[in-house]
Amino acid sequence: MPAATAEITPRTPIQEELLNSLHAILPSAAVLFDAEEMRPFECDGLSVYRRLPLVVVLPETVAQVQAVMQLCHRLEVPVVARGAGTGLSGGALPLSNGVLLSLAKFKNIIHIDAPNALATVQPGVRNLAISQAAAQHGLYYAPDPSSQIACTIGGNVAENSGGVHCLKYGLTVHNVLMLKVVTVEGELLTIGGETLDAPGYDLLALMSGSEGMLAVIVEVTVKLLAKPERAQVLLAAFDDIEKAGAAVGAIISAGIIPAGLEMMDRLAIQAAEDFVHAGYPRDAAAILLCELDGSNAEVSEYIMKVRALLADSGATEVRTALDEAERQLFWKGRKSAFPAVGRLAPDYYCMDGTIPRRQLPHVLHQISLWSQEYDLPVANVFHAGDGNLHPLILFDANKPGELSRTEEFGRRILLLCVEVGGTITGEHGVGMEKIDQMCVQFRSAELEQFHALKAAFDPAGLLNPGKAIPTLQRCAEFGAMHVHHGQLSHAELERF
C-alpha cells in the first residue's frame, strides 16, 4: 500500500479497512469522513456536547444498514444511530472511534392502512408527516413532541418521546405496534406485530426509549387514532402558581382527562408572548392551557365544567379560544416556549424531571430559591397533567463558570425530582446528559441488570456505548463527589 498522505489523520489498520469496506457497501456520497462534511452530525439538540465521529454513513436501504452493521460487528467498531438529531440529551453524540449511522434517507411512508388504523413508515419520516398523510382518512398519530415538525419517528421510538397530549393519549410506547430492527450482528428482526399484542416477551416496550442501545430501527408501524370531532382549549390565568397547581388536581379529581394540560410560569409566559404574540396575559404568575377533545356535545359539556373548576380554583381570568385559529395560537405559544425562552439569554439549559403532581409547589419553590442562589433565571414550563417539569435555566456560556454553575443547578433539580418520588427524565432521555444522575435514580443492582439486559442484545457493547446506562465505576466516582444526606451511594464499590 502507498504511504498515507500527509493531510489525512493517521488511521489504524482497522479504520482503514472500515473505510474501504464502507465504500464497497455504500455509494461514495453516502460515506462522509471529511471533518467539514461531518460537522452537521457532531451534536444533537443538546449542543453543549460535540464530537466528530470517525465516519458518517447515510444508507438508504435496509440491506445497506445490515451490511454496515455486519461490517462494524466484524471489526468491533461502535455505532451510534441518529434520526433528525433533535434529541435533547446527547443520545446521538458521535463517538470519535465510531460510525455515525444516519437514518435520514429513510423518508418513505410505506403504507397507511385505514381499515386497521395503522401506518407503516420508515424511521426517517417526520412525526408530523404521519398525521398529515393520515388526515385524508380522518386519522392522526397522537404523540406530538414540541419538535414534531422536525423530529423523526425512529428517534421518537428510540427516546420514547412524549408531547403535550400524553396524559390522554400516552407516549410513543403506547402508540407503536411493530418495529423492524437490525441487530448488532446485522440480522433483521421484527418486533411486535400488526396485531394488538405479539407472542413472547414485550420487546417492543423494551425497544421504546432504549436510546439506540439495543438495535437499529429501520421500520415503524404506528397506531392511528380517529381525529376528534372537536378540540377546544381554555386558557386560565392565576396570580399564584400554587393555585394553578391546585386547579390541575381539581380537574383530574372531577374525573376529566383533558387532551392536554400545560402550565407556564411568568417568565415563560412573557417570553412566549414576546415571541409569538399568543395573547397570553403577561402579568399572570402562571397560566394553564387545558385542551378538551371529543364529540361536540362532550366538549361543550366539559368546557362548562372546567371553566367552573378553574374559577373555583381562583383563576383571575378564563378564556376559551374563539376559533381554531386562536386555539392554534394558544398552542403555538406553548410549543414555542423553548425557542422563546432561548431569546432571553445567550444560552438555556432545559431540564426534564417528572414528579408526583402534588409535589409541584414544593419543587417550584425550591427551584426559585436555587435560582436566586445561583443567580440564574429559570422559566418553567410544565406538562401539568402528567407531572413532567421542564425548568429552563438561562445562562451565558461565554461567562466564565456560568455553564458549570448551570449544570450544578440542573443536577440539583434532578436530584430533587428523585427525592420527591419522581424521575430524572420524563421524555428527553438519559443520553450523555443525565448519565451521572442515573447513579442516583438506580442502585448498583439495577444498573447491573440493565447491563446484562443490553448484553443479551449486544454482547460486545457496540451500540451507542457509554450512553444511557452508566458503568458502576462511573457511579462510584460520581458518588464520591456527591454524598447525599450523608449516605454514600454505591458504597460497596471501590473508589477510584
Binding site: Y201, D202, G209, I257, S295, T354, T423, G426
Partner: protein
C-alpha cells in the same frame, strides 16, 4: 390482611438459586390453565399483599403483587376510578401480580390500552434473588430500559413481581351498549369503520349473529354516539361485558380447546371451521374448532396473526405462537440475563425458556 413478606420471598428465591431448583410462582391460581404445566416447588405470593400508595388525584396506584384484583378494583371504584385495561379475573382469587404477569386485557383494550400500557413501575426479585426497582410512580419516565413493561406478560419467567405501580383513570360517567343483528363480515366492516370515526367506542364484539358496541363518556357524548351508531340498547350491559371478559358466555362452555386468535381487526372471517366469537373490534377472536392445530396456525399466520391455545389444549406442542429461531435465541439470552439459573417458572411460557 396486609403483609410485606419480601424477606421471606427473597430468601426462598436465593435458596432456590443456590440449589438450582425450579420455582412455581403462585398468585391466586386463577390463570394456571394458561401456558405449559408448572414444574418446581410452589412459591406462593398471595400473602404479600396490600395497597401501598393511592392518591386518586395523581391517577397512580401502587400495590403488592399478592393483592386481590377485586380489592384493587373496589378501592378504585370507591373513587370513581378503574383499571382501564379491564383485566379478566378468571376466578375470585385473581391477584394483581398474576394479572400483570399474564398480561391479559379485557374488552376495552383496543380503545384504552393493554395491561402493559398502564404499568408504570415494579419492585421485583430477579432469578438470583436480588431486589430490584424499575420505573416509578409517575406517568412519564424514560430513565433506563422499560423493565416493568417487559415483566408484563412474561409469565413470571424473568422475575418475581413484588410491587406494581399502575396508571388508573376515571370511570366514564355514562355508558350504553348497542346491539345490531348482522353477519360477521358486516360486523367486522362496521367495527373497523368506527376506528376512524370520532365516536367514544370502548367495547366492540360480534357474538351469535349480533354486533355489540359499547360507547362510554359523558352523558351527552353517549347520547350523541347512540345517534351516530344506532342499534338497540342492551339491558344490563355490564353483565354482558363481564361475562365476555370472564369467559362465562355459553360460547366458552366447551371441553374442546379454545384458541385465542389475534389478527388485524379488519381481517375478513378466516376460513377455519368452528365457532367464532370476535372481541376487541375484531382484533381478538376466540375459536372453538376441531381443525388440526397446524392448519389453524398456518391459516392465521397467513393472515399476519398468531394463535394461543388458550384453554383445554391437549398435551404436546407449544401453547403460545412458536418463535422463530433468532427470536427464541434472543428470548433465551434475555431470560438468562434475569434468571441465570433458570429457576423462575421454567418452561411455563415456552418449553425452552
Amino acid at each position: 390482611m396486609a403483609g410485606d413478606i419480601t424477606e421471606t420471598l427473597q430468601q426462598q428465591v436465593q435458596r432456590a438459586a443456590a440449589e438450582g431448583t425450579a420455582l412455581d410462582i403462585q398468585g391466586g391460581g386463577s390463570k394456571r390453565f394458561l401456558g405449559h404445566a408448572a414444574m418446581g416447588s410452589a412459591l406462593p405470593v398471595r400473602n404479600h399483599r396490600g395497597v401501598i400508595d393511592y392518591d386518586p388525584s395523581e391517577l397512580v396506584l401502587t400495590a403488592r403483587a399478592g393483592t386481590p384484583l377485586a380489592e384493587i378494583e373496589n378501592t378504585l371504584a370507591q373513587n370513581a376510578q378503574m383499571l382501564p385495561f379491564e383485566p379478566p379475573h378468571f376466578g375470585p382469587d385473581a391477584t394483581l401480580g398474576g394479572t400483570i404477569a399474564c398480561g391479559l386485557s379485557g374488552p376495552r383494550r383496543p380503545y384504552a390500552g393493554s395491561a402493559r400500557d398502564f404499568v408504570l413501575g415494579c419492585k421485583m426479585l430477579n432469578g438470583t434473588g436480588e431486589l430490584l426497582n424499575f420505573g416509578g410512580r409517575v406517568m412519564k419516565n424514560v430513565a433506563g430500559y422499560d423493565v416493568p413493561r417487559l415483566m408484563t406478560g412474561a409469565h413470571g419467567t424473568l422475575g418475581l413481581l413484588l410491587e406494581i405501580s399502575l396508571k388508573v383513570l376515571p370511570r366514564p360517567p355514562a355508558s350504553l351498549t348497542l346491539i345490531q343483528e348482522c353477519s360477521a363480515e358486516a360486523a367486522i366492516a362496521r367495527m373497523s369503520h368506527l376506528l376512524s370515526q370520532p365516536v367514544p367506542v370502548d367495547g366492540a364484539c360480534y357474538h351469535a349473529g349480533h354486533c355489540y358496541l359499547r360507547v362510554s363518556g359523558s352523558a351527552l357524548a353517549v347520547k350523541h354516539a347512540h345517534e351516530v351508531v344506532g342499534g338497540e340498547v342492551v339491558e344490563r350491559p355490564d353483565h354482558f361485558w363481564q361475562q365476555l371478559r370472564e369467559h362465562q358466555l355459553p360460547f366458552f362452555s366447551t371441553a374442546n380447546c379454545i384458541y385465542r386468535v389475534l389478527v388485524k381487526p379488519a381481517t375478513p372471517p378466516l376460513p377455519l371451521a368452528g365457532n367464532w366469537l370476535l372481541d376487541w373490534g375484531g382484533a381478538q377472536r376466540w375459536l372453538v374448532s376441531e381443525e388440526p392445530l397446524a392448519r389453524i396456525r398456518a391459516c392465521v399466520s397467513a393472515a399476519g396473526g398468531h394463535v394461543t391455545r388458550f384453554r383445554g389444549a391437549p398435551d404436546g406442542g407449544e401453547i403460545f405462537q412458536p418463535l422463530g429461531a433468532p427470536m427464541l435465541a434472543l428470548h433465551q439470552r434475555l431470560k438468562a440475563s434475569f434468571d441465570p439459573h433458570c429457576i423462575l417458572n421454567p418452561g411455563r411460557m415456552y418449553a425452552n425458556l
